[in-house]
């Protein structure tokens, strides 16, 4: 009695490629996030340093992490859609 999905899911030939891309993008974002945590732990005084447009590192990095997640989401979707359209054509 395995638990099947609520709706029928078609076979996705692009699944493996998309998963690989997902892992790569996850690692990239994690490194940026880890950088933020690392500065907070090892050089917390850097967080107050002015960086761009008179804003300090804490603000630029914090806002940057939020905006980066949104931008990477759109990029990921673009490539995944492209892969799906190409590989699931037939």
């Amino acid at each position: 009695m395995l638990h099947e999905p609520a709706v029928e899911i078609k076979t996705d030939k692009a699944a493996a490629k998309k998963a690989k891309l997902g892992v790569k993008m996850f690692i990239a974002y994690t490194l940026v996030y880890a950088g933020f945590v690392f500065i907070g732990l090892s050089k917390p005084e850097w967080m107050g340093l002015e960086l761009i447009g008179k804003q300090n590192i804490a603000i630029i990095y914090g806002f940057g992490l939020i905006v980066l997640a949104i931008v990477m989401g759109f990029i990921y979707n673009y490539f995944c859609t492209k892969m799906e359209n190409k590989m699931n054509k037939n």
Binding site: D12, A15, F26, L41, I57, A69
Partner: protein, 640 residues
């Protein structure tokens, strides 16, 4: 704090509640099957689902808790915004599509899809229930906090109202009505938070933020051997002096009314600064600034003591841009209110003293989480910070009430697209939390008794209309999230445990009925907890729910998807170890010791956030047990 009730607020509140109940009636007629009840039939459009993700995720913790935490502790509150959003990256890149492919109605379905294991069903359904209940508590606390100023009702009535409405929403139409409630609420929350932020920027910074702002008294004092001996103003009489945590606190009387003041000595000049204080008398009666609550002597606080723009000191700035606002606060000085508690005879005093804080300290981490040597940060303080950031990052994609939203859309592509819509809406909202929190901090709107009310009270300074709408949306925020949590809990009990684990024979109609009864039970339990946990910051409590989810569920999900040697027993044991270790650390943490009335320093585990220990422990358990039970996988393959 005493709040004035407005008819507008009541009318808008009733409109929102009516809308939600109307939706539930409408969809109730269409919900006949268990697929419809638990997964909205799997036919929700990805864009609607994306905004519903925002409605589900942006809970009381995000709106009330984070804004409150920023208002009281500056940038440290914003760390929650960053972490909560970053967690969606894990959901999008690793979890969304595979989970959609594996599951049916619940998180347990997905974990169990490859194994059909009783161990997984039991462990995952328990985990879903525990995480959802941990998450439910702060939502209910937030609901209670909201009705006090909105409707002028006691905290517990707010909890009961939310509980009852949500039980109705879930028990009538399940996931379909829950989805549309979350969709409407998510959209309204983002739109009106944007409007509130525009008001904040238009208002700018001012030394006198609003006409009702109380100007705190400062009196000259004569001091000998660090003790106040007299005040030149003869209308004051010195009644008592106390030294608490190296602070000299003085009780003065004027016209037979007592007041507590804090001694400040600067450039050989001694002054006494007025404090806010609550006295709990030996008979249990509470006095606010020496008088009963109804006399309204307890003020809203939080203001700027110095405004510096481009190196010049000014009284106000006028309208400012978003980055200009942040920079102006960073250059200025803000009066925060810090809490201190001490006994006076048989009375218990809780006081809040003025704590002038440079803006540069507000705009970087450190006020709540000690990180620098100068602030006396220890290794445990740093581990606490690391642990929090880890749990926030890994917790999102392990929350059962978020994961079940993947089963409401028709395809994996739709699951991905809805996640991206969710990330965009949630990310934008989290940027606004910084403005709403800082706006509350400097506009004289803070209620020192409840950090959760910062954003709605800020809205009130811009007009009762905006306050009414924001409060009603905040209430809808609680409704949306609690509905999702109760659906997830109901699925864990009725679908995972009764139907799949106990294998009780039921028709599809009976399964839906069982789900509705489970929703009723969880709802009543949530009401009780919401009343018991009154007064805690909701974002802190949600942070703990994230830690439990990240420890109990995420290792299981990720290893199932990415490690072929994972076994059913490995998953089940990892969930159990994750739950036990994370909750165990929380129960023995300094914050909980404080709640028990014990000294926080005497807590055996000096960590408030358990993730740094419990997540690796769960991973280790999964790997070891899986390697020890490889035979199970071989047997399964052979039987297939």
């Amino acid at each position: 704090m005493i709040y004035e009730v407005s008819n507008w607020a009541i009318a808008i509140f009733l409109f929102i509640v009516g809308l939600v109940l109307g939706l539930s009636f409408y969809f109730a007629r269409k919900t006949k099957s268990s697929s419809g009840y638990y997964a909205a039939g799997g036919h929700i459009h990805w864009a609607v689902n994306g905004i519903a993700f925002a409605g589900d995720y942006l809970s009381a913790a995000s709106f009330l808790g984070i804004c409150g935490m920023i208002a009281f502790s500056g940038y440290d509150g914003f760390l929650y915004s960053i972490g909560y959003l970053a967690g969606w990256v894990v959901a999008l890149f690793l979890v969304a599509e595979p989970l959609k492919k594996l599951g049916k109605y619940t998180f347990t379905d997905a974990l169990d899809a490859k194994f059909d294991s009783k161990h997984i069903k039991l462990a995952a359904s328990i985990s879903t229930l525990i995480v959802s209940v941990f998450y439910l508590i702060p939502q209910m606390v937030g609901a209670g906090d909201l009705v006090v100023p909105l409707l002028g009702l006691p905290h517990w009535i707010g909890v009961v109202i939310v509980g009852s409405i949500v039980i109705f929403i879930v028990a009538t139409a399940g996931m379909t009505s829950t989805t549309y409630v979350q969709f409407i609420k998510g959209a309204l929350l983002v739109i009106f938070s944007t409007i509130l932020t525009i008001y904040i920027l238009q208002n700018g910074l001012s030394l006198k933020p609003n006409k009702n702002h109380h100007t705190f008294t400062q009196i000259e004092a004569l001091v000998t051997n660090d003790t106040v001996v007299s005040v030149p103003d003869s209308s004051f009489v010195v009644k008592n002096t106390k030294v608490v945590n190296n602070l000299v606190l003085v009780k003065l009387a004027k016209d037979n009314i007592d007041g507590w003041y804090k001694l400040n000595v600067k450039d050989n000049q001694a002054t006494l600064d007025e404090m806010l204080y609550i006295t709990v008398l030996s008979n249990g009666e509470k006095l606010y600034n020496g008088a009963p609550k109804s006399e309204r002597k307890f003020y809203q606080v939080g203001h700027l003591s110095k405004i510096i723009v481009d190196g010049k000191e000014v009284d106000k700035t006028g309208p400012v841009g978003p980055f200009e606002f942040i920079k102006a606060i960073e250059s200025s000085e803000i009066i925060r209110f810090s809490k201190i508690a001490f006994p006076e005879g048989e009375d218990k005093i809780t006081a809040w003293y003025q704590n002038p804080t440079p803006g540069e300290n507000i705009m970087k981490p450190g006020l709540l989480y000690k990180l620098t040597k100068a602030s006396g940060a220890t290794l445990w303080d740093k581990l606490n910070f690391l642990s929090l950031m880890l749990a926030l990052f890994l917790g999102t994609s392990a929350l059962p009430h978020i994961l079940i939203r993947y089963y409401t859309v028709p395809s994996q592509r739709a699951a991905r697209k809805s996640t991206i819509v969710g990330i965009a809406a949630i990310g934008f909202f989290y940027i606004l939390t910084l403005y709403m929190g800082l706006g509350s901090m400097i506009n004289g709107t803070l209620d020192v008794e409840s950090s959760n009310m910062s954003a709605p009270l800020l809205a009130r300074t811009f007009g009762i209309g905006l306050f009414s709408i924001i409060s009603a949306i905040a209430f809808a925020t609680v409704l949306g999230t609690v509905s999702g949590l109760i659906i997830a809990s109901s699925g864990a009990i009725a679908h995972d445990f009764i139907d799949k684990y106990l294998r009780v024979e039921m028709s599809d109609k009976s399964k839906v009925r069982a789900g509705k009864f489970a929703a009723l039970g969880v709802g009543l339990f949530a009401i009780t907890l919401g009343i018991l946990f009154k007064g805690m910051n909701v974002s802190f409590l949600v942070g703990l729910a994230f830690a439990v989810a990240a420890s109990a569920n995420l290792p299981a999900i990720l290893f199932l998807l990415f490690w072929k040697k994972t076994t059913a027993k490995g998953i089940a044991w990892s969930i159990i170890v994750g739950i036990v270790s994370s909750i165990g650390i929380i129960l023995f943490s300094p914050t909980m010791y404080d709640k028990y009335g014990l000294l926080p320093k005497s807590a055996p585990i000096p960590l408030d956030n358990p993730g740094i220990i419990s997540i690796p422990l769960a991973v280790l358990t999964l790997v070891i047990v899986s390697l020890m039970t490889q035979k199970d996988n071989l047997t399964k393959k052979q039987s297939i």
